[in-house]
């Protein structure tokens, strides 16, 4: 097997161009990544499902197409790892839950179909917190994924498998989903780029719902350019999703790149509070300084509702999840507990199929929607959500983008927060607000701790500013001049973090 030229391992766009120019074959690319995964995924455990034969067959098909003269497709020959809450036709899709063990979806999610149509190679299904409920991937029903930068630490979550796969060089691109930070926080903790698009810009059809009014599929990549590439492929209207925006992506994609000179960057006081690690704060402040040096203006902001985003977020998502997860009853798919009476079958199937965090959230949501509590909990959360939305709308009259940390800390040790749900929820403090307002936000690597752990900076923008924001991030990325390359897994796996439960 001819080795993949090293410059290609840093850029998905370069891979697609090389395949298009017939400099490398899609099969050669696939073999490279399969080989890396085979070597390192035993310790990282990013994948729940990886079928080398199927991947090679897909890559061979691309090569035949190229040989026949068809070199179309923005992702020609590019492997894309898929979070396992996205349906892949005939390929196991579990949401990292036992309740979907062995489930073979009858259809491809729209984003998966678009990746395939763009010449991308669907490259395995990645681990996540069960039903995307978590910030560490420890809630997976099939074992914890480890952070390739330090195997003793979590990769973040819920798209921990996708972020780890890209960081470890198992795939140049991955799809994640972000409900309250599930793309951005693991991107931050693994040192990769992750975008949460404007709500409705990417189809949710085939994304197994956690909280429908917040879920968005987003790209995870080594660099901003590649995130942009994948976003162009997956974005755009889908008639099968009633919450899909009827916007034409082309003008957004083609709009002239904003210059940093004169750019107004909002800096909220609430993002520099206690609880943010000093190293994280310093790394974000370095971004501020670089932007100012490039001609941007910092706009001090007050976003006083920031601390209320987490309780608001958790009430909205648990309420929606309690209903979204009602379909997992063992009747039409998934394992079914043995019971002679229906309601007993339901109760056992669900008790055995769902993990603790999922059960907690289902119960919280059921409670928040139940008679007598609806107004005090669910309705109240929607009212606060309205105010958070207004607060952002107001902020974006004063600035173009809001800058801050993605997560208050770098990657934390596996097991550290696993037993305290509220501590885990606090990981979302900076990522929960944007989804509540339907706004786009992204995380880019902006430095490392002294211990070498990645730190992410978050940009948040007004609705549909995704592509402008990506271009600003690309400029910032240049100024930061970090070495954005996949890493070989480092450190020692934590004891006790075993596969399965």
């Amino acid at each position: 097997m001819a080795p993949l030229p090293p410059e290609l391992t840093r850029s998905a766009r370069a891979i697609a161009e090389a395949v298009r120019a017939r400099k490398v074959g899609a099969r050669q690319v696939a073999d490279h990544y399969l080989e890396r995964a085979a070597r390192h995924d035993g310790t990282v455990r990013a994948f729940l499902h990886l079928d080398p034969a199927a991947i090679r067959a897909d890559a061979d098909a691309i090569d035949r197409r190229v040989a026949a003269g068809d070199t179309s497709g923005a992702l020609l020959g590019v492997p894309v790892a898929i979070k396992d809450n996205l349906c892949t036709r005939g390929v196991p899709t579990t949401c990292a839950s036992k309740i979907l063990a062995g489930y073979l979806p009858p259809y491809d999610a729209t984003v998966v179909a678009r990746v395939r149509a763009a010449g991308g190679v669907v490259f395995g299904k990645t681990n996540l917190d069960e039903f995307a409920m978590g910030a560490s991937t420890e809630n997976s029903g099939y074992g914890t994924t480890r952070n390739p930068r330090d195997l003793a630490r979590v990769p973040g979550g819920s798209s921990g498998g996708s972020a780890a796969a890209v960081a470890a060089g198992f795939a140049p691109l991955a799809l994640g989903s972000d409900t309250g930070g599930s793309v951005r926080q693991p991107a931050s903790l693994c040192g990769v780029v992750g975008l949460r698009p404007t709500y409705g810009l990417v189809s949710r059809y085939g994304l197994i719902a956690f909280a429908s009014s917040l879920d968005q599929v987003g790209p995870i990549a080594l660099n901003v350019e590649d995130a942009l590439l994948l976003m162009e492929v997956i974005g755009g209207h889908d008639p099968r999703d009633s919450t899909s925006r009827k916007v034409d992506l082309a003008p957004l994609v083609k709009a002239p790149a904003p210059t940093l000179a004169g750019l107004k960057v909002g800096v909220p006081a609430e993002y520099k509070v206690e609880g943010v690690e000093p190293e994280v704060r310093a790394a974000v402040e370095r971004c501020e300084q670089l932007l100012v040096k490039a001609g941007a203006r910092l706009v001090p902001l007050a976003l006083p509702l920031t601390p209320y985003a987490i309780p608001t977020y958790y009430l909205v998502v648990t309420s929606e999840a309690s209903s979204n997860l009602a379909r997992f009853d063992g009747v039409r798919y998934g394992p079914r507990a043995d019971a002679r009476e229906l309601s007993h079958m339901y109760g056992l199937t669900r008790a055995q199929g769902f993990g603790d965090e999922v059960k907690r959230r289902i119960m919280l949501g059921t409670f928040a929607l139940s008679a007598g509590y609806f107004d005090a909990y669910y309705k109240k959360s929607l009212q606060v959500r309205q105010r958070i939305l207004q607060e952002f709308t107001e902020a974006f009259t004063k600035c173009d983008f809001v800058l801050g940390p993605t997560a208050p800390t770098a990657a934390f040790p596996i097991g550290e927060k696993a037993s305290d749900p509220v501590q885990m929820y606090l990981c979302d403090v900076f990522t929960a607000p944007a989804p509540l307002a339907g706004l786009p936000a992204l995380s880019i690597p902006c430095g490392t701790t002294k211990g070498g752990l990645p730190i992410g900076a978050q940009l948040q923008g007004p609705a549909c500013s995704d592509f402008r924001m990506l271009r600003v991030a690309r400029e910032l990325e240049k100024l930061l001049a970090l070495d954005l390359a996949p890493c070989d897994p480092a450190g020692t796996p934590a004891a006790g973090a075993t596969r399965g439960r």
């Binding site: 009014s213 958790y314 009747v331 002679r340 009476e341 059960k359 289902i362 105010r387």
Partner: protein
């Protein structure tokens, strides 16, 4: 939230919990709900609830049949597939 409330909610949500789980969830859910109390600090009188991003409007689909090509395969996904039906344990009325 006490054990009885946890049992009521779990029963609404069709989750059969063991006794030990009931106690554990009761204390965890109580802690989480306690944390949620923080929202009382936010004034929301007269604020309309936001269930969706505001500018989204419901679209419609033309009334044109698009039958699924293989309905039998959908039945066969079920552990209870029986001929053309989904079989389930008897419903007690």
């Amino acid at each position: 939230m006490d054990g009885a409330e946890v049992r009521r909610i779990a029963s609404l949500a069709r989750l059969e919990l063991a006794d030990a789980e009931v106690d554990r969830f009761a204390s965890q859910l109580t802690a989480i709900l306690g944390y949620f109390e923080k929202l009382r600090e936010v004034a929301t009188e007269g604020v309309p609830p936001a269930s969706h991003p505001p500018e989204l409007k419901g679209p419609v689909r033309p009334d044109v049949a698009a039958p699924w090509p293989d309905p039998a395969a959908l039945v066969n996904l079920s552990r209870g597939a029986e001929g053309e039906f989904f079989r389930v344990p008897r419903v007690l009325e």
